[in-house]
Amino acid sequence: MNFMQNPPAQHTSEMLLGSDAIAYGVKLCRPEVIAAYPITPQTHIIETLSSMVDSGEMPSEYIKVESEMSAIAACFGSVAAGSRSFTATSSHGLALMHEMLHWFAASRFPLVMVNANRALGAPWNIWTDQSDSLAQRDTGWLQIYCETAQEALDTILLSYWLTERIMLPVMVMIDGFILSHTMEQLFVPEQDLADRFLPAYQAPYHLDTENPLSFGAAATPDNFYNLRKALAKTMKNVPKEIEEGAERFSRLFHRRYANLEGYRLEGAEVVIVSSGALTGTVRIAVDRLRDAGKKVGLVKLRLFRPFPREELLEMVQGVPDVLAFSRAVSYGAGGTLAQELRASLYHLESRPRIFDVIISLGGKEVFPETVIDVVQGMGGLSPVNSNWF
C-alpha cells in the first residue's frame, strides 16, 4: 500500500527527517553565512547543512564556532555586514545566547534561527518541552511554533521573507525528537519557486566603508526609550505582515499557515489551546471526544510572539472554558501559556475560564488518552491554580 501523496507542481516528494526538512528549507533560502554549535537534538540540522556546504551544493560560509554564544554573535557580525545568515540551537544553547538575543532584536537586524525545543537542566534531560524558548519571550524576537516538518520547512521560507521586511529576528521552533528525529513525506519546493518567493537580501543598512555608520552606540534614556517604542510598534504590525506573507506564499506554494488555527470549534464548550507537535495529538483526542458527543475544539497557537490577541479573541469569544496546555512553567506564577491567555482576554466583559494545565515537561509522554482524561476530568480541575498530574 502506498501512503505517499503526489507532490504539487514544482515540488519533489521525499521522505525526510524533520531536521533535514529544516536544512532543505534553509538551503532554498540561500543564506550567505551559517554559524552553529552542536547540541542535541539540533545536531542533524547542522550536520546536513555542513554536508551541503562541504559538497558545494550550498555556496555559504560555514563558521564552526566554539559555543552557542559565538554562533549567534557570528551571525550578528555577518548580518551587520549585510549577509543573510542562519543558525540553529536548543535548550542550554539558547539560554547561553540570551544576552545576544536582546542585542540582535534591538539592533533591528534580521535572522532566522531554529530552536529544537528541549528542557533545561538540572537534572539533564534531552527531551522536548518549551521552557527554553518561552523563557526568551521578552527578547524582541518573533516566535513561531511548528506542528509538522512540512510546516517547519515552509516556515523557514516565510520567516526569511518576514524578518527582512520587518528587521526583527525570527525564532522557529520544532519539538526536539518528536519533529527533529522522525520522518515524514515532505514536499520540497524547487529552487526557482523559492527564489520567486524570496529575493536576495538587500540590507537597508550595514557595515560599509563607503558609508561608515556606527551600530549600537550608547543611547540617552530618551533615545533608548524611543528606539524600544519603535520596536514595539513594529511588533504590533507583525500579524498584518504575516498575513501578506502567507498570501504570497499560498499563491506560489498552494499551502497556507495561519497565526492561529481553529479546529472543530463549532459550538465548542471547551477549547484546548496547544502549540507545537503536541497539537497533532490533541487533534486526535478532539476527534474522539467529538465522536463521543463532547463539544470540544482546538486552537493551535502557531505565532507566540507577537501574541495574536485579536485572532484569539475571535476564536474563543463565547466559549465557556479554555484549557491552556503548557509545556513551560514560570515557577511561582504558573504555566506560561495560561498566563498569556489570561492577560489577552482579561479586558473582556465576558471571558472564558482559563484552566492552566501543565500537560508535559521534559518529554513526559502525552497520548490522545491523556488529553481525553484531562477533558473528562475537568470537574476536578482548578480554574485558578496550575493543574499538575
Partner: protein, 289 residues
Amino acid sequence: MLWNVTTVEYLNSGHLGCPGCGASLSMRHALKALGEKTVVVIPACCWSIIAGPFPTTALSVPLLHVPFATAAACASGVRRALITKGHQDVQVMVWAGDGGTFDIGFQALSGAADRNEDFIYVCYDNEAYMNTGVQQSSATPCGAWTTTTPGGKDFAYQKKDLIGIVLGHHPAYIATATVSFPEDFYLKFEKARKAHGFTFLHLLAACPPGWKIDSQDSLKVTRLAVDSGVFPLIELNESGELQQTYRPDSPIPVKTYLQSQKRFKDLSDEDIELIQAQAEEKNKKYLPA
C-alpha cells in the same frame, strides 16, 4: 628610518576619552596605519563610551558595538560576510580592552584564533576594568592597587601570559606594541594588515585615573614599561619565534617604572625585587632585537 603617516584623521575630535588616555591615542594611530577600508568591532570597554553616544560617532570608519564576551565571534561573522561579498580588501579589527580579552571574551578569542579567522584582534591593555571604575582583571599586574584589590593585587597571581596562549593557536602574526614607540607601533600594524589569517596585537595603554598618574605622563610611563622590561616589545618573526623588536641600550630598573605610578605605591622593597626578577625571567624567553 623614514616612513609616511597619513595626515587624514579617522578618530575625530569630540570623542569621550579622558585626558591622556592611551587607548584613544592608540586608536588614532591604529586607524592611520590601517586606513579607511577598516571595520571596527568593539565589545564592552572604555571604547564603548569613547566612541561617542548615539546618534554620533567619533570614528570615520564603520563601527559595530557588541556585547562583552562576543567580539572575536562577531568579527568572524563580519569577515565571512565580507568574503561572500568579495570585499577581501576590507580590514576587520577587534578593539577590546583587557577584560574583554583576558577574561570574558577569552573563549571567543580562542575560537576565532583556532579557526584562523582573517582579522586583526587588538587588545588595548590598561590592566584593569577601567570603564567600570578600576576593578582588577586577570591582566592586572601583581601589587597593583585597584578598587577590588585595595591592598594591591596578591602576589600569588602573575599576569596571564596572553601572548604565549595566543601563540599556541598558531596565529599568522602576533606582536606587542605601545603608542609611545610609534615607529614600532606603525610597523606592527602594517604587518598585521598584510598578514592573512588571525593576527593578535597586544597594546599597553596607560590609564591616568586607573594608574594614578598625571595625564601628561601617559606616554612617559609606557616608555618606562618597555625600557624596564616589564612590557617587552616583541613580534612573531618569519621563523615562527618571538623576537624583541626593540631592546633598550641600558635597561632601567622596574622600580623606576613602578614608582612612576601611585597604583604601586604600597609595594615593599621585596615586592619590587620579585617584580624585577619576573621581568628579567620573562625577557629571557625572547630572541634579542
